[in-house]
């Protein structure tokens, strides 16, 4: 029991942080709430470092402590802290500012549970926890757009979640256990196995914004505060992708899941890139781009079992968290409309350069972090004999260039009118500064990470 608790120290730390933050909010101390959030999440992330290299399970196999879940702590908790700082930059002084920090922590906890789930019940709880927090975060502003976004998100989320629970009930019937490790037994009942697989794809696919379960994402991001949109595009998504990797790890290959995941992957990245091509609202554009990036993530999931699958997922998750949060931080300062970006590269060269680097990294231009991640993902797909999938992904990264250049090109054009961007905010600048350091540095540090992930 004590040993089990030790393995769960990061998650427990996040839970305590969330509760303390809530108390701070009750005492009307939003600044203290922010400090507690950042410090608590940092401590939680630090406490995950001793777990590197541990391959174990806690509480009768229901929670897995492995490379995926530990790295999820190391990636998602700093990302959550950065999101909290962004939220401070955007929402300081608003009603219920402290609740936002608390909800960020709860949602992150849900994502961590997803990433380490070794049991169907934890899977359900993880989806639930990260969804409920997200709904409330989207609705934070309480206005027409925010509540509309939250309502759509809620409807989509609750229906998908319900479908997932219903579907996995057949897995329980087929194996007599709720442990993922027992999933090898589903071969005895193919219809039940197929139903459960589809249901899990629906539930986790919704969380990860995978086509065709992504419809909520652009609306929710658009209605939510920008900082929340950045958070939603990173933390719950990565949690769900890692959960999917945990599920398929134990699923018999004969069920055909690699093909299912690969097909969805191609569909997702193509649809995301195409839809992003015609957006004029940068937040919606980034929303569709994050849909497309989910497609790249699925390459690593489809290759589960191969030697490169886990390292590629971890490296790409790190890269994606940094570059996407950075891009949202710049959007926070600049504005949602594409026109607001005209001339940004001239009026604020540093911000402009950072944005260019984030976007190029999202395309996958070397030597930035995105390249390292995508390269490993392509390699993982190739190692699992999914050459066509890798080629589709490479073609898509060609296509995605057009998407991101739509933001880059006007940035270096002379604006027709005076720039209307908001006043500089040291917090937002700090956030994109950190994200920039990771985006640029990860390419060089990738060896370091790989050495610690293991196959």
């Amino acid at each position: 029991m004590a040993h089990d608790l030790l393995l769960l120290v990061p998650e427990i730390a996040v839970l305590l942080t969330a509760v303390v933050v809530l108390v701070c909010e009750m005492l009307r101390r939003p600044r203290a709430a922010l400090s507690v959030t950042v410090a608590g999440l940092a401590l939680a992330a630090l406490s995950a470092i001793p777990l590197l290299g541990v391959e174990s399970t806690a509480f009768s196999g229901t929670f897995r402590v492995d490379a995926l879940s530990t790295w999820a702590c190391l990636i998602l908790l700093p990302a959550t802290a950065l999101s909290a700082l962004l939220a401070r930059a955007e929402l300081a002084g608003e009603e219920g500012e402290g609740t936002v920090y608390s909800l960020l922590c709860f949602t992150a906890l849900g994502a961590l549970i997803l990433a380490g789930s070794g049991d169907l019940m934890l899977l359900v709880l993880g989806v639930l926890l990260s969804s409920l927090g997200s709904f409330a975060l989207v609705a934070h502003r309480d206005d027409d757009r925010a509540t509309e976004a939250a309502m759509k998100y809620f409807v989509f989320g609750s229906v998908s979640g319900g479908v997932m629970i219903f579907g996995v009930s057949y897995w329980v019937g087929a194996t007599g256990s709720t442990l993922l490790a027992a999933l090898g037994g589903v071969t005895g009942a193919p219809p039940a196995a197929a139903l459960g697989l589809v249901a899990v794809v629906v539930g986790l696919g919704y969380k990860a914004a995978v086509v065709p379960f992504h419809f909520w994402a652009p609306d929710a991001y658009d209605g939510a505060p920008v900082s929340v949109a950045g958070f939603l595009s990173v933390v719950p998504k990565i949690g769900a992708i890692l959960a999917l990797a945990q599920v398929v790890r134990d699923l018999p290959v004969g069920l055909g899941w690699p093909l299912v995941i690969a097909a969805i992957s191609v569909l997702t990245m193509t649809y995301g890139n195409l839809a992003a091509l015609v957006q004029r609202n940068v937040v919606r554009l980034l929303a569709y781009s994050s849909v497309a990036q989910s497609g790249y993530f699925l390459l690593g999931v489809a290759a589960t079992g191969g030697p490169l699958a886990r390292p590629s997922l971890v490296v790409f998750a790190t890269a994606y968290a940094a570059m996407n949060l950075g891009a949202f931080a710049v959007v926070l300062r600049t504005g949602r409309d594409l026109d607001a970006f005209t001339g940004l590269g001239r009026s604020r060269p540093a911000t402009g350069a950072a944005m260019v680097i984030f976007l190029l990294s999202l395309v996958g231009i070397p030597p930035l972090a995105g390249f390292a991640g995508k390269f490993l993902l392509f390699g993982a797909a190739l190692a699992s004999h999914l050459l066509w999938l890798a080629i589709a992904a490479i073609l898509n990264s060609v296509l995605s260039l057009a998407v991101y250049l739509r933001i880059v090109v006007p940035m270096y054009r002379t604006p027709d009118s005076a720039p209307t961007g908001r006043a500089p905010n040291p917090l937002a600048s700090g956030v994109w500064g950190i994200a920039l350091a990771v985006t640029v540095g990860l390419g060089a540090a990738v060896q370091l990470i790989l050495g610690r992930v293991g196959p």
Partner: protein, 103 residues
Amino acid sequence: MTAALIAALVTGAALFGVGLYGALSQTNLVMIMMGVELILAGALVNLAAFWRFLHPGAYAGQMFVLIVMTVMALEMAVGFGVATARFRAKGSVEMEEAGELKG
């Protein structure tokens, strides 16, 4: 497989079908939430039946039932929260009046 199990599974599937149809066809947020409840009820019936007729020794099935009940309760609480906020902002919880965000 016993006839009782089949009957229970058919009941569960029927609940799921009605619930999904409701969630897809209703335009009022509260009605959609009822549809979701029915979907979850279908899952509950399934889980209980599997435990009772196939794996009576596995307590995990019962645990799962409890978890699903928690999910139902929490989802309803948050759903009503969202509905209240929406009602305050717009004066209705009709989904068809929510078409501002699109494209």
